[in-house]
Point group: C2
Chain length 501, copies 2
Amino acid sequence: MNEITIAKIEELKEYLKKIEYLGSSISLLHWDSLVYMPKEAIEYRSEMIGYLTGESYKLTTSAEMKEFIDYFNGIDDLDQLTKAMIENIEKDYNLATKIPEAEYVQFEIDKALSQSAWEEAKSKNDFSIFKPHLAKMIATNKKFSEYWGFINKYDGLLDIYEPGMTTERLDGLFGELKGFIVDLLQRIKNSNMKTSDTFLKGNYSVESQRKLGEAILGQIGYDYERKGRIDVSEHPFTTNFGNKDVRITTKYEPSDFRPAIFSLIHEGGHGIYEQNIPNELEGTSLASGASMGMHESQSRFYENILGKSLAFWRYFYPEFQQTYKELERVDLISFYKAINCVEPSLIRIDADELTYSLHIIIRYEMEKLLINSDIDIDDVPKLWNEKYKEYLGVEPQNDAEGILQDVHWSGGDFGYFPTYALGNLYGSQIFNKLKEEIPDWNQKINSGDFSSITKWLNENVHQYGSIFKPAELIKKITGEELSAKYFIEYLNDKFGQIYDC
Amino acid sequence: MNEITIAKIEELKEYLKKIEYLGSSISLLHWDSLVYMPKEAIEYRSEMIGYLTGESYKLTTSAEMKEFIDYFNGIDDLDQLTKAMIENIEKDYNLATKIPEAEYVQFEIDKALSQSAWEEAKSKNDFSIFKPHLAKMIATNKKFSEYWGFINKYDGLLDIYEPGMTTERLDGLFGELKGFIVDLLQRIKNSNMKTSDTFLKGNYSVESQRKLGEAILGQIGYDYERKGRIDVSEHPFTTNFGNKDVRITTKYEPSDFRPAIFSLIHEGGHGIYEQNIPNELEGTSLASGASMGMHESQSRFYENILGKSLAFWRYFYPEFQQTYKELERVDLISFYKAINCVEPSLIRIDADELTYSLHIIIRYEMEKLLINSDIDIDDVPKLWNEKYKEYLGVEPQNDAEGILQDVHWSGGDFGYFPTYALGNLYGSQIFNKLKEEIPDWNQKINSGDFSSITKWLNENVHQYGSIFKPAELIKKITGEELSAKYFIEYLNDKFGQIYDC
């Protein structure tokens, strides 16, 4: 690269920083609205967010941005980081500019109406209220994907959240996984080993849960003081404004410490990822996780692979037993089995580690149908219920616990759900590699030493931000393409042992 | 106004809303940085604030803004609100555009350096570290005031915070007030009545203080749930993003409930003002208090005139006595005298109600000298100390408790201090009128009924936002020009009674 190109890169980075500042401001406004904002401020807050989002859109789609893209597309010898940067901003540019502005604006309006219709429909348990809005969300997504040039329309939506992922690829991965889980569930059902978790219910003060949660997060490497926070919100989430201000939330339930503790570990995994994105990526548009699926790989690794392992609780359980009299007479193995109790159920966010992926696969199959076929919207709730019956053996009694349970579609988000299950695949494939390179990982966790594991993830995953596409990154880390094999092996070992089947 | 003008007003309001959204976003970023932000995020946060401030500056000084101003200056039959709106945006336009851009940018840089030099100087108790920065802050303020066209340079600075206020007018008001307070202090010194507040020290849990503070704020009319918040920060302050999201902060000291309780009532007064600015003023640039002094009149009215009155504590004291065993054997009158104990001291923010204004008058006299005369910067600390000796009878032992105690000058803020004492004058003059119109105000407070008082302030002060200049507003409310008379009478009655002098 010659001097002019190098100077031009600096210029572009200054430009991208503005978009980052706006994005971080929007994220703070949003975080605040979910965590601390007084109720009556909601309308004004939406106006503030709307204004800043519009400004960010202008910068993302400006003539200046187009000039940058054209200039760099004419340079042959770009380094890898710059190449990734240009590809990324060009993608954002295209996503926005290929849609006629009037349709983009109309979609924003429709989404707001759709979301409030969904809220009403769910509370009244009446799909018909949401139906026309769902139809509109589907139609708009189809049209947008066409604008973006995708022949397989669902591929266009997948690509937003998981760059490069395709329906064909997912069919293979999820097909294999589905077959295995359905089969394992049958084995568990037939097994003589019965487990339960009802004895974990008790009376756990918020303060004690907070203290235990903080202790765990500190130990696994989430900095919740100098570079992060922990707060409370209705639904747990993670957000960040740069790599030195990462914020996770949870919700405490006095009758059960599991929702708070496991959501903290989950969000902590996201948080550790963002806190370890290197400073040098600021202003490159690459200063975040490689994809939603890769992000989810980190949260699920900490939450499930580590956080629901025997080794993990061998270290942390004594402190829980000291804190909670309810656990005094529960031995470690019983506790371990209880937190890993498999129980097919209707609600995704309450699912256990094994059945969770089936909830996702059902949504994936539904989305494919909704986007790529001309299914009658009236048939959708029934189809949902049939899939639950077939894969999980449970049947929703109403639409609120069926088709209406998740917020995603009401906000026009199709193609997002698969990333939750992809996280499981990435996570266990990465874990397989980590075990090779840190053979005594188990002993380390036994003794509460997470530093080498988190350091390994820093070096192999976090430090790259989104320089690499997820498919490239998983190959770089593990030497192989993404496969369902490692997750299947992991599930088979773990639940085969627990259920002796 | 013809149809075109009316349409143009709507257009201008849409434009001004953008500036408000940016301003509100900046305020939230700032609030968050003082209340919840992780420490290491400070640098990135400054960059975010810097970027949004620059965008706001661009909108305030744009060619489009100039066109609006020129257009409306050519219309004869503007209504009062539009006239005030145009005057206000023209003032902001001139304040910014009359300074050469390079000098404006340089001032921002100099301020940051000056503030950190001040911090170092204060912690090392060494004025020489801060001296060159103070000299630069003074020189820049002088120059800016000249750019703005002021012959009396200090008038130009006063006008930023207290529109229309002049040095000549303040000389009169503060001269009268100073003479009276110095004299009353002498009478108190000679009086046989000795009071003390040392017996109020104790052990007061943060939680109990928070609960009592919330109870008081709810009662006086600050909505801290649906339209506001209460948080903790190093120094108490109030901020708001629109009229439905007002946030006050305080700091709890376990050894003394007074700092938290009285700062909460003080900030609550600011908060009540902002919560009662009418919705209609959104987008007019007039949706905030009439001036810093008028704002301070509300905070000081609630904090001192109400909050340190006998009637107020006749209502609230029983709950304090029930909460704190330390107060069990302290009768109401002793408590009332303790919270009104007069004790000349060195530190402004710790001053009692009577001596507080002298701290301000000293700063006012110093600022006049610094801005309007060519005083040698080396003489400044000595001059400060002499004034403390002369007016308050106390002498700083070092610069940290003398010239270096306040942050204001290090940030280039000259002309701000007087508004603190002006608040006392406005507040007592307004109170005098309120007493005429609500003759049983005292009985109402006795019984915890603040609603008619707060409603009276809503109708007479808050609802106007900054449609009127403070001089117009005080006349509109009380029928008279601002005078020192009412504050002097109030102080004379109150402290004359307490000290029997």
